[in-house]
Symmetry: C2
Subunit: 323 residues, 2 copies
């Protein structure tokens, strides 16, 4: 694809166009991924997650400045499933865009959450790889936290930064609900406000209880975009953790696990296309008929199909004929 | 399962326990569905969807009262992926619960969105069937609208009611984003407020442009929970549409399509369990090794596996041995 060549040689317009293709034409994705594959793996992939209102967008704006001060380049993807209603992601983009207009070392993009179910996660991963292959030193992926989105951020990035704010009285609840398992670094943002020390203490003691089986103790860092404090420190901590994981071989292991996930997902997607609603009755035969006329339920049907091996045979036949 | 027998004979505690099991132990689901299967199909399944703040919870509270006035029973499932952060669903539940305490003809339940990816949709469907089998005349399923959730409401219910409010200035945007395709009936809620007639007009003209390929023109109904107007009318319209779809055979067709979706999902889930991350390398063989060492990308790997038929063979072998 000409567009991929142009993107790899540094063409930003081609990069933007490829992102649109990944969003709108999922069938094009495998071909694009195949072409960029050998150029990926150099970028440091960093996830920024946390509840709405935690100030992720502003924090990322500050992080971009900090990364640029170090003469590194940075690509940003914002994944906000609430954007359809709140305009959040788009507004955030506009703020950040305005601050970095004309800077060739920065590229920012919001992912629309419209479209096929399950598509968001796929598109986010593919877009991350695209920014990686383009040559950005750092790729930031912003998403709202755990349990809310189709996107499991830990399967996309190397290091997950969880952002919380003091006034989110239910921050501790959020931690209990799963955020404590996924954070590699914690940020108490808007730390100029009341209650930030309490939150830092609560976080630290919660992290001592359990840290998701990590080999290191996640750092808790106070930041304030308003007073512009803590951002450089956060970036240093991210870099330190990255170096440490890289030296110990954990980063490599993490990325291997991610590839397994991606392979599984790629297989699942392809299988999914094979079992189309239109010909599901051909693939499922007599059992499918029984399900359709109501004499057995779909779950029993699936169990029968799989245990008899008939489904695999039918799919196999189809694979070989459609190969 | 003793619990299922008790539930089917009217035991509310058993019903609540089964719901918890469906939420927490997805492996139990097929067995439960098999047992209740012959008792399902009588309830009228109604989805209530719309953006956060549209007043869905209050509207449902009024609908419950209206259904009860007609001496019908009603089960309610609230699916709100934002509940983790806002407490929305739970708060809504509490309000509704308090209003219907002690009424054996009403059962209300929030679905937690925690847990496995893709689990929400499965649990919502299974819980709907459970309420159906228990014998409720109507089952209401509340969810935030389109593009936001893992739940495609149209695959769960017979009739989708889309709730909008005048002050949501972006209501028309929402419609363009997909809500106009899924609604069978539209509600302009909080119609005591300014702008409601404008919204009704905009809706009606948008519906004349396109109505998602429906054979009927979706009604637009003004409601106000505050003034308690429009609710009985809404219920009458739901019933009318239900009767019409039933008489024309469209309801039957819709339900058949839903069964196809469920069968596909059941197969997908079972396949998914077969391709576990732990033994994905056994199933994918040489191609899997190439993906893991980075010489090819996962998408190309999946394509190779499927077109060669090797994956199907390996899965087939596994199905037959684990059957």
């Amino acid at each position: 694809m000409e567009l991929v060549k142009n993107m790899l040689s540094g063409d930003r317009v081609a990069l933007a166009k490829l992102m649109s293709i990944l969003e709108r034409e999922p069938d094009e994705m495998p071909g694009i991924m195949e072409q960029i594959h050998s150029k990926t793996g150099s970028a440091s992939l960093i996830g920024i997650t946390g509840p709405p209102g935690a100030g992720k967008s502003t924090l990322i704006d500050s992080l971009i400045k900090s990364v640029r001060k170090n003469n590194e380049t940075v690509g940003v993807i914002a994944v906000d499933p609430s954007s359809l209603y709140t305009g959040g992601a788009l507004l955030g983009d506009r703020i950040r865009m305005n601050n970095h207009v004309g800077d060739q070392g920065v590229f920012i993009r919001s992912l629309s959450t419209k479209g096929t179910f399950g598509g968001l996660s796929k598109t986010a991963k593919a877009t991350t790889r695209l920014l990686d292959s383009y040559g950005f030193n750092k790729v930031l992926v912003e998403s709202v936290g755990v349990g809310q989105t189709e996107l499991d951020i830990a399967n996309v990035v190397d290091i997950v930064v969880v952002v919380l704010v003091p006034e989110a009285g239910d921050s501790i609840q959020l931690l209990k609900a799963g955020l404590i398992e996924i954070g590699d670094i914690y940020v108490v943002n808007k730390s100029d406000r009341e209650g930030s020390d309490l939150l830092v203490d609560a976080l630290s003691s919660e992290l001592h209880e359990r840290n998701g089986g990590k080999s290191w103790m996640p750092k808790v860092i106070k930041t304030s975009a308003k007073n512009n404090t803590g951002i450089d420190e956060l970036l240093v901590e991210i870099q330190k953790l990255n170096d440490k994981l890289s030296a110990s071989g954990e980063l490599q292991k993490l990325r291997q696990l991610r590839i397994k996930h991606e392979l599984k997902e790629a297989i699942r997607n392809s299988l999914d296309q094979m079992i189309s609603l239109d010909d599901i009755l051909h693939i499922t035969g007599e059992v499918g008929k029984d399900v359709m006329n109501g004499s057995i339920d779909p779950y029993t049907g699936a169990k029968k199909l799989l245990s008899s091996g008939d489904l695999a045979k039918n799919i196999n036949r189809r694979f070989n004929s459609t190969g």
